[in-house]
Symmetry: C2
Subunit: 166 residues, 2 copies
């Protein structure tokens, strides 16, 4: 697996191996595998953990969030959020209670079981995260990722902006 990138490789991407996007994808796949392994003992997937932790955080901060609020906060697709929250509800980790003020909305409350699991899983995630990002200075990683996250398109943007210009 040693094959580091042979050269500077600033020339045209004759080979996909040198594209930042390709690297990003591969790195993320590896990270997801590491995180999945870390979360397996808790019977949680990555997204399940993200939504559980997000619901907990928002719950602390501003009260039980609606699904849409949670999706917005987590950067997840609303449809996926709906799916996964029902899974979490099925596991008894969250409740989805109707919003008294808006009967369309459902508010996500973390149950006691959910909170207990979240706390334990959080340690595993932080550990896995630290291990995975150890090879690179934390500041560097955060700088790059934060710069890129500035160009994040809103997930729920219906506005299918330009199919894909030439």
């Amino acid at each position: 697996m040693g094959e580091a990138v042979p050269e500077g490789g600033f020339e045209r991407a004759g080979r996909p191996t040198e594209s930042p996007g390709f690297l990003l994808w591969r790195v993320t796949l590896a990270w997801q595998r590491a995180l999945a392994a870390a979360l397996r003992p808790y019977d949680l997937t990555h997204v399940q953990f993200v939504l559980l932790a997000g619901a907990w955080w928002l719950g602390m901060d501003e009260g039980a969030p609606t699904q849409r609020r949670l999706a917005e906060h987590s950067g997840t697709d609303p449809m996926m959020t709906s799916q996964v929250l029902r899974t979490l509800e099925g596991k008894g980790l969250v409740e989805r209670v109707p919003d008294p003020a808006d009967s369309r909305a459902k508010r996500v409350r973390v149950t006691e079981a959910g909170e207990a699991l979240r706390e334990r899983a959080m340690y595993a995630v932080e550990e896995a995260d630290a291990g995975f990002f150890a090879p690179v200075p934390r500041g560097d990683a955060l700088a790059v990722l934060n710069a890129l996250s500035g160009s994040l398109a809103p997930v729920a943007a219906r506005a299918t902006r330009r199919g894909a210009g030439a």
Copy 2:
């Protein structure tokens, strides 16, 4: 447009929002959306393009690869590789010819139609890639990603036999 970063705070501690892994995941989701949009006119998904381009590259470099070789090169799961290659075969973009020397193996050859499509799609991908990574110096991104890709776990590692430890 507007709120690219949903919440004010990527910088406070103690919650998933500031984890590099969480950021990496969100950035990758956004990148995948951008790439999916760029590839939509060509009726290719991201992975289909990666495998098509990978098969082409390896074909140039060392002859038509087996599925396993291609999976190894692309960092993809062998099972997924098998699935997606059959999709590509159904589209007439690749052929899967039996290896004369090893009757278990199938070698992936890019057809003329596949090569024509790959070339056009490559431009779209390079453009999307350049646009997405514009906010950060290329050298910085490559440095971080290359450092992290050093810790890539082999995808096909059967060695997972130990059940996730803890």
